[in-house]
């Protein structure tokens, strides 16, 4: 009996000991950079020799400065000027609306969502955000510091209007 008890305790303690998973670690292989990165989107290998593999480009960082960006065209959904990492936006909860809901916007100094977001498809005004507007990131997205792959000659609303006035 006593032996069995001791064995049981020993087994429990061993089972609870730290479990380390062996992960083979190796230094990253030498960088193979894409020549003229950003400009070549047509070629499949982007100028990398056939016996080499291009190193992945660095992940862009989300801009997190909390100041609203100007919009580029009329009725553009404003972009999100902050990081939204791990903000849960699921069927259960909408963490965006923690701050951007009408009742909390003032408390958190957050811009509140417009009245249109409370209106259903049938024109009924709801107390909470309308289901058709629920998934914020369907229209509103954070921005990163990524370089555009190709040059864009599109000029936003602001740039256009200033050039028009000077003309």
């Amino acid at each position: 009996m006593r032996h069995a008890l001791l064995l049981l305790i020993a087994a429990t303690l061993i089972a609870c000991g730290p479990r380390h998973e062996e992960v083979p670690r190796r230094a990253p292989s030498e960088r193979v950079t894409v020549t003229g990165a950003g400009q070549q989107i047509d070629a499949l290998r982007r100028g990398v020799p056939i016996d080499q593999e291009a190193s992945p480009v660095l992940l862009p960082r989300v801009e997190n400065f909390d100041r609203p960006r100007p919009v580029n065209y009329e009725m553009q959904p404003p972009t999100i000027p902050h990081a939204i990492d791990n903000y849960q936006l699921t069927v259960n909860t909408n963490r965006c609306m923690l701050c951007h809901t009408r009742s909390n916007a003032e408390k958190f100094l957050a811009p509140e969502v417009s009245d249109a977001h409370y209106v259903t498809r049938d024109g009924k005004v709801l107390e909470e955000i309308s289901p058709r507007r629920y998934f914020c990131v369907q229209c509103h997205v954070p921005q990163t510091d990524a370089q555009p792959l190709v040059e864009s000659r599109y000029r936003g609303l602001e740039a256009r209007s200033t050039s028009e006035t000077t003309r």
Binding site: L13, G17, P18, F65, D85, T93, C99, F108, L109, A110
Partner: protein, 204 residues
């Protein structure tokens, strides 16, 4: 059998033990008994704490599939598991108080969880999701009542450099955390696990 009858039986059964405890030692010296008692105490205390610490490890917590497949899997994508500096929280960092008195109290409450394990109260994902709101509310209530003590074991307001936080975070921490008006859990629900349906639950 009458009540006094039971008492008499218990008394007659205990009587020899009681008289043995009351009478002075016949063979062992006072030194042996005190030193031996002290050593036995040290060993008991060490074993007790070691066993308790063994239940305070991630390996122990995630030994059950209930924890491993639900909450631990969800933790892995969050900043408390995966971040730039590699400092991370394990289950008991947040869910078990670090001070001894509170820890023992929590451990005693946790005996209910052993019951749950034995009878499989959340042994499928569906059962777990159904109970998630209840379980979450227990943790929110605990955090609210103790002023988010387990958060503050690591995150101390006095050591927060507000200038290194984003503007909105700095502003809100200063106004609501700094003044003591709110505590961490009031805003930071669901930072380490997925949230249950939050309809009708006051937040922020």
């Amino acid at each position: 059998m009458t009540r006094s009858g039971i008492w008499n039986r218990i008394r007659s059964w205990l009587a020899p033990y009681w008289s043995a405890i009351r009478s002075p030692s016949r063979f062992y010296s006072l030194g042996f008994l005190t030193l031996g008692g002290f050593l036995a105490g040290v060993i008991f205390w060490g074993a007790f704490n070691t066993a308790m610490e063994a239940t305070n490890t991630e390996a122990f917590c995630t030994g059950c599939h209930e924890m491993n497949d639900n909450v631990f899997a969800e933790l892995k994508t969050t900043i408390h598991y995966n971040n730039r500096s590699g400092v991370r929280a394990v289950c008991p960092d947040c869910h078990v108080p670090h001070e001894w008195t509170y820890k023992i109290a929590r451990k005693m409450q946790a005996s209910k969880e052993v019951w749950g394990k034995i009878f499989g109260s959340v042994d499928t994902r569906e059962k777990f999701l159904k109970m998630r709101l209840d379980l979450a509310q227990h943790e929110w209530a605990r955090m609210k009542a103790n002023d988010s003590r387990e958060c503050r074991n690591c995150h101390q307001y006095d050591s927060m450099d507000l200038t290194r936080q984003s503007r909105r975070a700095a502003n809100i921490h200063q106004h609501y955390l700094g003044t003591g008006e709110n505590t961490c859990i009031d805003c930071h629900k669901g930072i380490a696990h997925q949230l249950p349906s939050m309809a009708g639950i006051p937040q922020g």
